[in-house]
Amino acid sequence: MSGVLPLALEKATRALKPLIDSDKEYVCLMRLHGDVDEREIREVLGQFQGEIYQRPPLRSSVKRVRRIRKIYKIEVIEIEERDVLLRARVDPGTYMRKLCVDVGYALGVEAHMEELRRTKSGIFDEKTSFDLYDVYEAAYELKKGNEEPARRVVRPIEEALKEFPQVIISDAAVDPVCRGMKLRGEEILMIDKRIQEGTQVVVATRRGEAVALAISRFPYGELASNREPLQIKRVIMDAGTYPRLPGSA
C-alpha cells in the first residue's frame, strides 16, 4: 500500500481532523477469481457508483455498524484478463478491499484487492507530493544550516486548510479565541460568502494565520450580527501569539 500520506508536524496535528475527514482517491488493482466479460465488469462497476453500504471489517478500530459510504466515481483504467485496474474517488472511511470483494460477488466470480495506491487525500495530491528521500534530504540540509529544502517540503498548515472558507477576525479577538473564549459577531472583519449553516470554516487573522477550526451556526450574512456566530471546534494557534489588546471595535 503506497501513496499520499499527509503528515502533520507538532502543533499542526491540531488541524488533522478535517484533513482526515476528506475524500480520497485511489488507484486499485482488483483481481477476479474467474473470467468475466469486459462489458459486464464495466457495467457492474458503474453500478457501484453512488451510495453503498459497508460494515467495517473485524480488524478495524471503528464501530462495526453498517454505514453508508459514497463512491463518487469509479473509472476503469485497464482490464487485462482477470486484472482490473481502476481509479475511484470515495468518501473517507471507505474500505477499498471490501469494495473489491463486493464487486467480485456481484460479478459472480469473487475477487480481491491485489494492490492499492492512494492518489489523493483531500487537497493532498500525489502530483505535488514528496517521497522519503526528499524528506530525508530536507532534514539533512537543515542540520547543515540550509533551510530551503525544508521550506519546500514542509508546507504551512494554512496551505492545507486553504480550501475551507475563512472567517477573518480582528487582532483583538485572536488571543481570547486561543484561550477558549467564544467569538462574538462584532469581532468579525470578513466572511467568505460560501459559508452556510453547518459549514466547516477556518478562523483566521488578517495575515492569514489559522487561529481555529469552527462550524458556522448561520449563513454568512447573519454571522456578524450574532452574539455567537461560530462553534469553535479546535484551536490551532497558541495563546500568546497575539497579545491581549483592549477591546475589539
Binding site: L9, T13, Y95, R97, M113, L116, V154, I168, A224
Partner: protein
C-alpha cells in the same frame, strides 16, 4: 473567493507572522508534509522516521495506508507514536 467585508481594522500595528515566512522552528512546528509513502513500511513507522529526522516532539498522519487490510484508520490518537501491531501481521 468572494468575501463579505464587514468592517476594516483600524490601527497600524501588525502582530503575529506571515504563515509563509515563519522562522524555521515555527515553520516546522506548524508544518505539514504531503508524503508519498512507499509500500513496505507502515504509516506509523514512516511518521516515526520523520519525527526522528527532524527531531520533533510529535508527528501525526492523516489516515493509515496499511498493507494488511487496505482500510483507512483515522489516527489522531497516535501521539506520541505508538505502533499498533495488529494480530496476524
Amino acid at each position: 473567493m468572494d468575501f463579505l467585508v464587514v468592517r476594516e481594522e483600524k490601527g497600524e500595528e501588525t502582530y503575529g507572522e506571515d504563515p509563509w515566512h515563519r522562522d524555521i522552528k515555527r515553520h516546522l512546528s506548524f508544518g505539514v508534509i504531503n508524503l508519498d509513502k512507499p509500500s513496505g513500511p507502515g504509516s506509523h513507522e514512516v511518521a516515526a522516521w520523520v519525527k526522528r529526522m527532524f527531531g520533533l516532539s510529535k508527528v501525526g498522519h492523516g489516515g493509515t495506508l496499511e498493507a494488511r487490510s487496505g482500510e483507512i484508520q483515522p489516527c489522531p490518537a497516535c501521539f506520541p507514536l505508538r505502533w499498533k501491531r495488529l494480530p496476524g501481521r
